[in-house]
Every structure is written in structure tokens, then in C-alpha cells.
């Protein structure tokens, strides 16, 4: 029922997540933020089972910040992604596995932008675009069709809007608003929430 999407451009990563926190059939919160800021240029988007998401994401967040305090410099997105995956894998065969699906988006000074897809079985893949949730079924083919590696920021936002319109049209759940953020060499920028309203 939850939805995450990420699109990587030549020098930025655009990510969006829905804002609904639901419990069984009730929407308990309409403005819930599913993105966790790991560092100045890394965002972790986390969906999955109720308590696991916040617990795991906060654990990763605090550890990444601890690394910075101990060593004086921040983890790169690739390192953070691999650290996250390792933790997920370690817990996978324990008594308390974390059932979470993640997107990690970041910008590295040397490697540029990066988008990492991770699922609850701790598979990790660096991808140009990715999505989680039932909504991914409806939007991945749109991304396949229109994505180009040299998208500008405006084109990426348009592509995102196309995806969200499709969700609004065909997805059975009502996802009224989405938080959208953009990461580039200057850090994380909040973009306006996308309400997918009637045209």
C-alpha cells in the first residue's frame, strides 16, 4: 500500500514517497514522512512492516552519524548502502528479521549521484530508477519507456508526475500526497508536495 520511487539524473537524484501511515484499513496519518536523512547528501526511504521501518532506519541513521563523529568525514552513499545491506542480511536469519524495503539515494563528490534499491531479503542493486510497493507494477514501465540518462531536473519531475498520475488513475488505494526531495551537489532540497489532484 506504500509507494517509493527514485529517479537518477546526470548530477542529481529525485526521490518521492507517499504520505500515508495506515493501520489495517484506517489511514492514521496523512502527512507522514518516510524519508530519513542519513547525512547531508544521503536519504534513506523506508517502507515495510509497521515498527520495523522506523526502528531499522533510525538505527542506520544514528550509525552513519556516529561514523562521521568518530572519523571526521561522512560515509559515501555506496558505503552507506552496503552497510545497510549488511545489517539487513545479518538480521535476516535471526529471530527478529526486519521486514523493510528501502531506497537509498545520495550524491558523492567523486562518484556523482547514486540510487540504490534494497529489499527485505537484503538484495542490493544500484539502479538508474527504482520503485517499491504495489504502485511499482504500474509505474516501472512508464519509467522504462521515458527514462533517459541525461534527464534535466524539470524532465525528471515531469516523469515523476506522469508516474503519480498513473497511480491516481489506476491504483486502488488513495494516495493523496507525496513528499518529493532532490539531492545534488548542494545537498538535499525539499520540493513542493505533489498532490495528484483532478485535472
Amino acid at each position: 500500500m506504500e509507494y517509493l520511487i527514485g529517479i537518477q539524473g546526470p548530477d542529481f537524484v529525485l526521490v518521492a514517497a507517499d504520505n500515508v501511515a495506515a493501520s489495517s484499513i484506517i489511514q492514521m496519518k496523512h502527512d507522514y514522512d518516510k524519508m530519513f536523512k542519513l547525512s547531508e547528501k544521503i536519504l534513506l526511504l523506508c517502507v515495510g512492516e509497521a515498527g520495523d521501518t522506523v526502528q531499522f532506519a533510525e538505527y542506520i541513521q544514528k550509525n552513519v552519524q556516529l561514523y562521521k563523529m568518530r572519523n571526521g568525514y561522512e560515509l559515501s552513499p555506496a558505503a552507506a548502502a552496503n552497510f545497510t545491506r549488511k545489517n539487513l542480511a545479518d538480521y535476516l536469519r535471526s529471530r527478529t528479521p526486519y521486514h523493510v524495503n528501502l531506497l537509498l539515494a545520495g550524491y558523492d563528490e567523486t562518484d556523482g549521484p547514486g540510487l540504490y534499491y534494497m529489499d527485505y531479503l537484503s538484495a542490493l542493486a544500484k539502479a538508474p530508477f527504482a520503485a517499491h510497493g504495489y504502485g511499482a507494477f504500474l509505474t516501472l514501465s512508464i519509467l522504462d519507456r521515458y527514462y533517459r540518462p541525461d534527464l534535466t531536473r524539470e524532465e525528471a519531475v515531469d516523469l515523476l508526475k506522469k508516474c503519480l498520475e498513473e497511480l491516481n488513475k489506476r491504483f486502488i488505494m488513495n494516495l493523496p500526497s507525496f513528499t518529493v526531495r532532490l539531492i545534488d551537489k548542494d545537498g538535499i532540497h525539499d520540493m513542493e508536495k505533489l498532490p495528484v489532484g483532478p485535472k
Partner: protein, 365 residues
């Protein structure tokens, strides 16, 4: 025990497992659980200098065997119609995205420990914040698979002078964890000379419940409290709003709202499966959909205390009308900067008959 701990006296406790530090309370052979909980344990067990034994955040951790073997051993039937386990990795087709579907009914997950009788979690509780504070309301029926075990159980429990918690789930679990939370908050207050905020209390409760995830423990609480260090600033505004009509309140609303970033009314929902949400309106329990529909249309920030009380009472009444597992009386608490105040418990049977009488008179004319 609390005083000794605060005063730094080292006294070996009677029941070592309850207050022993985390590192000693685990059975070494069950290392998988240890690694799952131990990381949280290490993060918490920072020792304060000068303390004899215990550090403030060492909570009671479950003994590993109790989670797999039942101490109750009389022949009971295991639940045959078991709903999906929350933590089991679903054996879905690999191409489907990995979503854990919510359980269809508010029943417990299929137990690793056989239950002595089937539990049901019927209740209606609600909490919402408005300009005059926080209202917490609940019904008073404790049910046990079709039997009303207690028609007058308190489901809104005060935790400290400015914090009240509504409980839903297993009554015994809720009562116990509320007391544990009250103890930890009191310790915090004695050590740091200030009250812990509602958000802090919610985080504390959520982390205390995390080791029990996947077990039968079921606690869904809404913590309703007032944060603030200086009560003198807050109360003049709230009294004035009680009598002004809605349209004059929008200007002063924004002032109150901006001030309430740091102090003010707070409603936070904490669930034993780990969910922790801050918001302005929550309703929990089997009767919550019925209550939500009343509250969503009638609650707004600028309402007066009397209106808020009416709406809360009405929402619980409507939920008890429709939901079999809610009923009997309604308890209502109002939390302001000065603390919580309890309204007299009201029997909803009277309200039901009054409404029937009104309907009868309307039809008659």
C-alpha cells in the same frame, strides 16, 4: 527501589532478573535473539558515573525461554484458524513486491505459545488535541471472546500529572506497561529535574516494547499530554477561546500554534508492533472506525472545551452503539497546562434510552 537507585545505594535486588543489567540477563545459548536485542542493549547500557549498579535505561528484557515455552501447561487447544504471522517472510511469488499485508481482523497472530483462551481486543479509545488541551476518552468494557469480563474497567490511565494514556489491546499488558512507563518517567523526573516530553515518553515506551515484537504482547496506547516547562504562560489564552465564536479565532490560532512547537498539547500513538505516530487525532480499537467518522467531521482546532467534551462523548457513544466489544460507560480526561482533570464516568445506557425517547417523540409528532 526507585529511591535507592536515584540515591546511588547499591543494594542487591530480591529478584535479580527484573533489574539485572542487560548483559547478564540473557541465556548465552540463544545467541540469535541476543544479537537481535543485544545491539539495542549495547546502545542503551551507558553507565552513569558514580551509580552503584543500574543505569537508567536498562529495561526488563524478556527471558528467552518464556517466548517459546508456555509456563501454563494445562491442556488447551491451539488456535486452528490462525491468521498470518506478521514476521513470517511471505511465501509469495518472487515477482510480487514485498509488502506485508495487514492482518484481516484485530486478532493476535498465530501463537508460538498456546493461549489459555482466545483473546479479543475490543475497545474504543480516542484522543485529540485542540486549543484547550487534549481530550482522551474511552469506553469501559473488557471483553473476553464473547463474555463481558468487566463492565467498568478503566482504559484511560493517568501516567503522571500532565500525561494520560489510553489503552487498547490486552488489558493486563496495558496496565503493566503503563506502570512501567510511569516508573521510568518518574525516575527521569527525579534525575533530571524536569518532566520528559510526551514525544520522549512515546519513544521510551516504543523502545521498551520492541523486544517483545512477534510475541502475544498487544498494547496500542495513545499518549495524551501537555508539554511545557512554564505553565504560567499557557493558560490565559486557552480560557479566553472557550467563549469566542469560530471566525474570530483564526488570528489567535496561529499564535497558539507557533508557540505550541515546543510546549503545548501532544497526542502520540504507540503500538506494540513498533508504530509510533504523532498527530492531532487518533482513535484505536475495534470501535475506532465508528469513532473516526464522528470525530473527522466535528473536531477542529478552535473548538471550546465543552464542545470537545461533547464530541468525544458522542464518538464513544456511537462506537459503543455499533461495536459489540465496546460499551457500558465512557471515561473522559482533559489535559491542560495545569494537569489532567477527570470527568465523572457516565453510563451510556442512559444516553441510549434518552435518544430512543427523542426518536419516539419525533416519530409521534
Amino acid at each position: 527501589m526507585a529511591l535507592q537507585d536515584v540515591c546511588g545505594l547499591h543494594n542487591s535486588p530480591l529478584f535479580p532478573q527484573w533489574s539485572a543489567p542487560l548483559s547478564r540477563s540473557f541465556m548465552p545459548e540463544n545467541s540469535t535473539h541476543l544479537s537481535g536485542g543485544g545491539i539495542h542493549g549495547e546502545a542503551f547500557s551507558t553507565r552513569l558515573p558514580g551509580r552503584g549498579g543500574l543505569s537508567p535505561l536498562e529495561f526488563y528484557m524478556p527471558i528467552a525461554e518464556y517466548l517459546t515455552e508456555s509456563p501454563i501447561n494445562f491442556g488447551q487447544t491451539s488456535l486452528t484458524s490462525a491468521p498470518t504471522k506478521l514476521l513470517e517472510i511471505d511465501h509469495l511469488h518472487p515477482s510480487l513486491p514485498s509488502i506485508s499485508l495487514p492482518p484481516p481482523t484485530p486478532f493476535p497472530v498465530s501463537p508460538s505459545v498456546p493461549l489459555p483462551f482466545t483473546l479479543s481486543h475490543g475497545t474504543t479509545t480516542l484522543g485529540f488535541a485542540f486549543q484547550g488541551g487534549v481530550i482522551a476518552a474511552a469506553d469501559t468494557r473488557s471483553s473476553c471472546s464473547g463474555l463481558v469480563a468487566c463492565p467498568a474497567s478503566p482504559k484511560v490511565l493517568p501516567i503522571h500529572s500532565h500525561l494520560v494514556g489510553t489503552t487498547s489491546g490486552t488489558s493486563a499488558d496495558c496496565a503493566l506497561w503503563k506502570r512501567i512507563l510511569a516508573r521510568e518517567l518518574r525516575l527521569y523526573q527525579l534525575r533530571h529535574h524536569r518532566r520528559l516530553s510526551t514525544g520522549g515518553a512515546a519513544k521510551l515506551l516504543s523502545h521498551m516494547l520492541h523486544p517483545f515484537k512477534g510475541t502475544e504482547l498487544c498494547v496500542a496506547a495513545t499518549l495524551c499530554g501537555w508539554d511545557g516547562d512554564d505553565e504560567k504562560h499557557e493558560q490565559p489564552i486557552t480560557e479566553k477561546h472557550a467563549n469566542t465564536p469560530t471566525n474570530q479565532m483564526t488570528a489567535s490560532n496561529s499564535i497558539v500554534r507557533s508557540r505550541s512547537r515546543i510546549c503545548g498539547p501532544r497526542v502520540i500513538y504507540v503500538c506494540s508492533d513498533g508504530l509510533r505516530l504523532q498527530g492531532e487525532l487518533f482513535s484505536v480499537g475495534s470501535g475506532s472506525p465508528y469513532a473516526y467518522s464522528i470525530l473527522d467531521s466535528s473536531v477542529y482546532w478552535g473548538m471550546s472545551v465543552q464542545e470537545a467534551t461533547e464530541v468525544a462523548r458522542e464518538a464513544v457513544y456511537r462506537a459503543t452503539y455499533r461495536d459489540a466489544y465496546s460499551g457500558n460507560n465512557v471515561d473522559l480526561y482533559h489535559v491542560t497546562a495545569k494537569g489532567w482533570r477527570r470527568r465523572e464516568r457516565e453510563n451510556l445506557k442512559e444516553e441510549y434510552y434518552r435518544e430512543k425517547e427523542r426518536e419516539r417523540r419525533v416519530i409521534a409528532y
